[in-house]
Symmetry: C2
DNA sequence: CTAAACTAGTTTATTTTATAAACCTAATAA
DNA sequence: TTATTAGGTTTATAAAATAAACTAGTTTAG
């Protein structure tokens, strides 16, 4: 009846991040900060969780002497996102 | 960009309950128990929360000497569910 | 009749999760 | 050179989810 919803994706901020990463080659920390309007701390934590799950890759480098964190979605992450969308649709269109 | 997701609906069990209630006049506690496969305690708690929010109505009666709890969705609940679905779609179809 | 098992839930205690505030390190500006 | 800014991370707190234990009563088997 109701499929299990990946708890890692069933969170507003993490889902936002994944949704953004679905659309781009890669995204910088500040891009995510700007788009999501979340706090830095929160984003930092959620990036870690997504990374730990293998849903995204995180590259740390320097630009203009400042640290720069860049993220991109992995194939595993894409798959998870697509599965999540599929599972959710079972909840959203109860009349179909 | 990303709309706020009603935290009351952004939960697997509560969303399941609301999804079920969208389809029926009313549903008994045991129907929800059976359909969702959740524990009684969990369902009890989530029903209370949905009720407190005014998303559902809860009637308590007796049938065959046993207590019987029946739920139905309210117009406020229907509206909330529809808004939730609309808001979520902004996350799910990032390429559109 | 009475003890065990069952119905239909609710409450409570514990764990997990989310979140923001405080903090850190290095770089640039005044 | 000390103040401020950039780019984050860590930690402390609050909120939520969950299951186990409990309540209250009913049915059934001996």
């Amino acid at each position: 009846m109701f499929k299990h919803l990946d708890p890692l994706l069933h969170n507003q901020l993490r889902l936002s991040i994944m949704s953004l990463l679905m659309n781009v080659e890669s995204a910088e920390f500040n891009f995510l900060l700007d788009q999501t309007k979340a706090t830095k701390g929160n984003i930092s934590v959620q990036i870690s969780k997504l990374k730990e799950a293998g849903y995204i890759e995180v590259k740390k480098s320097f630009r203009k002497n400042y640290p720069l964190t860049t993220c991109n979605i992995t194939s595993k992450g894409i798959e998870a996102f697509e599965n999540y969308v599929k599972a959710l649709s079972g909840y959203l269109n109860p009349n179909k």
